[in-house]
Each structure stands twice: as structure tokens, then as C-alpha cells.
Symmetry: C2
Subunit: 401 residues, 2 copies
């Protein structure tokens, strides 16, 4: 008998009508002879409502108590869904994070799963129960309630699937699956039937973001096939995220990140340790750097360019100027309002035509590139933000349409 | 250092303004140098709201899942109250039933406390924390969430006080304390400054019901002094429920129970086992009998009268008639719409004047008595319901006014 883990987010369980739809999906898997573990989020706006009430009390809630408060949201959903399944004639039991238990570290509001005890769930599955699990929550080794932070319920689902050696993990959401680009920018987006973990991770910035990187990383590490499906479409084919991209399609997506600025350090002394010193200063000031490009260091000086988010720009410039002497740079330049446009696909590295095609599409549309970086499965270029949508469309058209 | 347990009910924690009042009561005890354990209920209508939502799903919710659902109400309150205390500069930690743990049997919706582990609470108290506990809930030995049923939060508070050997348990409520009668019937009710556990148990049916019998019974068993106080009156003197009634007052209260019917079994064979058989039939049919009076059995037949709640009357008569031959009664009579009026006070048994005074008060007001029963601390009479308020007033006036 196979174990299937299904996960339903907040909008999928928002009210009784939607819980009925969710029950249909669950029962369909159960009737196929599978053992079913269901992970759910808090209903609709429940968490927002609790946080609004919390703000009436304090702007800086104690982190431990915050987790005690918000973890009630998922507990309400599991009880309701479980009693609905029982009413429909199925054996079902709900389990909170501490009942399983899902053991996390003690970082409140942003816990990391350490391990999951399978026995309680397995015993219930073996006595024919549908097990309904509260997502987003765990318990630390001292019995304190923790929550997992962003992407928490997806992470619970994939981690459970890994721990229970489930056949697959189905993430039900309000979109049909993973698409080749953001449908708000590109008209002819295509739904991907397959995508690899690596590609999914690279596509995390995609407008139609469907899976949090944390859960994809766990899926990759433990090789859990993840299906992204629609709760609301009965015949949803969905997208399979797994080890290999089984499709012929070289390009799995074209994505865009906005609000990027580029900083160029001109005339840095070409000496061992100088680059390290520069980025140590930035990380000590909690500035996240994304892309880094360095000119080849064959001369006495070199130039380094990197990108930061627009809202980190002022702080970055301030920190760099305060440390200008220490860094020993000739000049610090910056360019604002850039976007990073990327093309993603397994095997891009081995297909030189992809880069050429991408540059061609941009050239044909008179779009200037401020920086180029490439990886095994991704080519990214920086363009002016006002040209970014056009760039996405042009590249999508060249490769996918 | 003394441990004080304080309990605040749903209306006392209904909103942020009231939580502030509650925090004042807590901080006052803490500033006196006490270790403070606080037990709270769900806020205001939270539990009702959850049950309304539950009814949308099913009319017969699974009992286990019902407890998972409603126990979230208290969990929300403990987190909020604890973060409020932390904001005010105090160390505080919230604990759910399973975190302590409060171990109960596995009877969902109506769990009974088996034992309480003190260590977690004591450790937090010893590191200067105010410990905020979710009332009404526990966990069974298999890690299932249970709730304690009616009077649950009061029961949690008094049981914790007993287990922690607290100096006392303060039950904060929306009335000032325990009164000699129902203020809606009698004008000149007096607040009692002291009342014994026994008297409090006998007064449980009092209109102004303030303490559930379960918590009084635990208080009696472990000799926990219980103070009933008002959350909303800063200078509330309250009523102390303890081993002894320390007051001179012989009479501590006059109470009334409505919706009672009396059934008389006429001509029951005066043979050993016949009475047992009668009441076995009733209990097998889950009929609760309150007062029982039997005529002295010196003849071949005897009469037995007993009372049941009005809404059990039809079922009782049906059961009795079905078993008429087995019981061997000549006739089964009944009287509807009666009330039980009681006078309560330690030492009544040794003061024959009390019964006389009570009967006199009824005679003076032309009130007929259908049945009389007495105990060590209570004398009850059945009267027609339409005369019950007058009876309470007349008796109260004779003894207390």
C-alpha cells in the first residue's frame, strides 16, 4: 500500500464548501487503496485575524507566545476536516505538530524541522485512518510550540512525505501547476507537466510562485516527487517536480525579478583577501548580495560588480563609503531600477544556442544588457526595469511559443 | 514564597480592555512577592463561535475532534495574556494542558483529571515567571487532547492549586461573591464572607451560581481555600469557601430549584430487593432521581416518592408503566410543576428551631409542602412552583434579613 501526502493551503480550506472539495480529493486517493496523510493550513484569513488581535496587545509580541497563538489556526482546520471525513463515513484522526511529534529547533517563528517521528502516523494509517496533520507547526525538544515561518505548510508536507517514504506529495493550490512564465506578462504561457527540482528552485522568483524553496530543497534532498495541482479543477493534470525534467523542452521557464540595483567597485587592488574583505563588510551589515561578477584579475586593479535589492541600496552605499579606505577602491558606482530576466532549463549549459537566442531576442527589441551571468541551468541578464516585461515576452516567444 | 492560583473566566478576558484589568489583578499578587499561576478560559464568545462553525460541518461531531477544535479557544487566551504581561515588563510563559501536562482519562468532552505534573510549572515559577495556564483542557495518556466539560476551567484552577499546594485559589468572576439567595428573587440578599465546602455544594443550584460542584469537591478533598471575587471591582472582598464556616450565621443560604415533578409509587410490596429493583430500572434508563422519601416499612406494602426533572417525567412514567408488573406497585401517581426550596447552613441538624422556623414561614404565607427532606446541613421542601419565589423570600426574611 502506498502513502500519499496531500497538502491544502489556506484558500483551499477557507470555508465549508471548500472543505467539501478538499474531502473529495482526499477520498479519491483513499478509495484507490492508498494510505492518505493530509496537511492543511489555517483557514482563509484566520492567521491574519489572530495577528491583528495580537497587534492590539503589542507591536513586539514575545516570539514564543506568538507561536502559541498562531498555531491554533491550523489546529482548528485539522479538527474540522477530520470530523467532516468521519461524517462521510471514513476513519480519520487529526494530529498537531506536537502530537506526531515534528521536532524542530527552538527558533520561534522560523523553526527548522530536525526530525519527524513516524510511529504515531503509521499506527493510525495502519488502522485505516486518514491522518490530518496541522501544517506550519512543530515542537522543540523542551515541549515548546514552534512555527516554521514562510512556506511552512508546504515544508511540513514534503518533510512528512520524505520521512514516511511516501510515493509522492501533492501540493493543492489555486493555480493549475507551474507555468513557463508569469501569465500576467506573457500571453502564451504553457503549463509544464514536468520540471526538475533545480529548475523549480531557479524559478522561485517566478510571478506565479507556487512552491517555497524550502520545500523544494527537502524534496530534492530526499527525492520526493511533488505534484502541484489545482484544488478547484477536478481534472487538474498539474506539474510534477522531480529529479529529472522528463520533457524534451530545453527551456522550462522565463522569469523576472524587479527592484534590483547594481553596484560597481572600480579599481579594487588586485590582492588576495581584498574581495573577501569587501563581502565580509557587506554581510556584517546584513546586506544580501545576489549576483556577483568580477573582471579577470590580471592587472594591478580589478572591478567588481554585484546586485542588491533596491531597498538595500542606500544602506549599501553608506556602508561602502564608510569603508572606502579600507576597501581601497578608486570609485563606487551604482545603477538603479534594473530587473533580472532569466531563462531556465536543464542542459542550458550544454546548448550554446540558448544564450545566443536569448541575446538575439533582446537585441531585436533594442534592450540593453547591464550584466550577464550563467549557471548550469540558468542564464540571467540585467536590463532596465521598464524593458523587463518586453524582454520576458521576447525570450518566451523565441523559445516556447 | 507562596503560590497563588488565579482563575479568570471567559467574560473576564473577553477583550483587550478586560485583559488589562486581569493583568492588574495578576501583577498585584506578583508584586506582593507571590508566585502566581493564572488559569484562563476562552475569550467571550470564542467557544460558541467554534461550535457554530462545527455545526455547519456536522450535528454529531466526533468527540475527539471536538476537543481538538474547542481547546484552541483557551490556547489563544494564554498566548495573548502572557504577551501582555511580558509587554508590561514581567517574565511570563503560557502552558497548554499537554505542556504541563494535566493528565486526564480518555473521556472526550468530559475528561476527569488523573494527575498533574508539577515540575514544568514549578521550574518556570522558580525562574520568576508568571505561568498562564489554559483551563478546561488536558491530555490523555496516549497524547490525545481532552476537555473537562462543564465547570472545566474552575476545576483546572482548583486542581492546580491542590497539586501545587498553593496558599489559595482565587476564582475571579462577574459577581462579587456568594450570596444568601438569588438577588433576582430576594431583595435583601447578603454577601457571605465565609462559607464551607459542604454549604457551597448544597447551594450549587442557587440562581447566582458561581462555582461548579466539581471544583468545590476537589477543594474540599485537598483543603484548598477558594476565594470567589469580582474581576471588575477593585476592592472586591469576595467570599472564602473553605473547611469551616467561620461566621456566626447559622443559615448561609436559601435556594430554589424549579421544574421538578414528584412521582409516588403506591402499594409497593414490602420485601427486600423491591426498592433496589425499582431504582435499577430507572438508572438503566438513565433517569436521574433527586430526592427519595420512603414511608416506614412496617406493613405488607409501602409507598415510595421521588423527584425527577420535569423533562424526564414522560420517559419516567413510560418506563414505570412498562415495568409495572415487575415492580408490583398498586398505583403510580405524579405531581407536576413543583419547586424545591432549601435552607442551607452548617449545624442545621443540631438546631431544631431552623426546621420549625422554615415551616412557620411557609405556613404564614399559606404555602403547602409536598415533601420534606433533611440532611446535616440542608432542609428542603417541595412546593408548587408558582409559590416558590414567595417561599424563598419568606424564609430568607425569617432567618437572614
Amino acid at each position: 500500500m502506498s502513502i500519499i501526502v496531500q497538502k491544502f493551503g489556506g484558500s483551499s480550506v477557507a470555508n465549508i464548501e471548500r472543505l467539501e472539495l478538499v474531502a473529495d480529493h482526499i477520498i479519491r486517493e483513499k478509495e484507490k487503496g492508498n494510505q492518505v496523510v493530509v496537511v492543511v493550513s489555517a483557514q482563509g484569513k484566520t492567521t491574519d485575524k489572530l495577528i491583528t488581535e495580537e497587534k492590539e496587545i503589542t507591536d513586539e509580541p514575545d516570539k514564543r507566545e506568538h507561536d502559541v497563538l498562531v498555531s491554533t489556526g491550523e489546529q482548528i482546520t485539522i479538527a474540522k476536516l477530520s470530523m467532516l471525513l468521519i461524517k462521510k463515513g471514513y476513519k480519520s484522526v487529526s494530529l498537531t505538530g506536537w502530537q506526531i511529534p515534528i521536532i524542530t529547533n527552538s527558533e520561534y517563528n522560523n523553526g527548522r524541522i530536525r526530525y519527524i517521528h513516524n510511529k504515531t502516523i503509521e499506527d493510525y494509517l495502519n488502522s485505516d485512518n486518514i491522518v490530518v496533520v496541522a501544517g506550519f507547526q512543530g515542537v522543540d525538544e523542551n515541549g515548546n510550540i514552534t512555527t516554521l515561518g514562510r512556506g511552512g505548510s508546504d515544508t511540513t508536507a514534503v518533510a512528512l512525505a520524505a520521512s514516511l517514504k511516501a510515493e509522492r506529495c501533492d501540493i493543492y493550490t489555486d493555480v493549475d501547476g507551474v507555468f513557463t512564465s508569469d501569465p500576467r506578462i506573457v500571453k502564451n504561457v504553457k503549463q509544464l507537466s514536468n520540471v526538475s527540482y533545480e529548475e523549480m528552485l531557479e524559478m522561485s522568483s517566478m510571478g506565479a510562485k507556487v512552491l517555497h524553496n524550502r520545500c523544494v530543497e527537502i524534496g530534492q534532498k530526499y527525492n520526493v516527487p511533488i505534484y502541484v495541482k489545482s484544488t478547484f479543477e477536478k481534472e487538474s493534470v498539474g506539474t510534477l517536480v522531480s529529479k529529472n525534467n522528463l520533457e524534451d523542452l530545453v527551456i522550462s521557464g522565463v522569469t523576472k525579478d524587479d527592484y534590483i540595483s547594481r553596484i560597481t567597485i572600480v579599481g579594487l587592488e588586485n590582492k588576495i583577501g581584498k574581495t573577501y574583505e569587501l563581502f565580509k563588510i557587506l554581510s556584517n551589515n546584513r546586506i544580501n548580495v545576489d549576483v556577483i561578477v568580477q573582471s579577470f584579475g590580471e592587472y594591478i586593479t580589478k572591478d567588481i560588480a554585484f546586485t542588491v535589492k533596491m531597498n538595500d541600496l542606500n544602506k549599501t552605499l553608506q556602508v561602502l563609503n564608510e569603508n572606502k579606505d579600507k576597501i581601497g577602491a578608486k570609485d563606487i558606482l551604482h545603477t538603479e531600477n534594473l530587473s533580472k530576466v532569466s531563462i531556465i532549463g536543464v542542459g542550458i549549459a550544454n546548448k550554446p544556442g540558448v544564450a545566443t537566442g536569448m541575446f538575439e531576442a533582446l537585441y531585436e527589441n533594442n534592450i540593453n544588457m547591464h550584466m550577464i551571468t550563467t549557471s548550469e541551468i540558468k542564464i540571467s541578464v540585467l536590463v532596465n526595469s521598464n524593458m523587463a516585461d518586453l524582454a520576458v515576452k521576447a525570450i518566451h516567444e523565441k523559445f516556447i511559443d
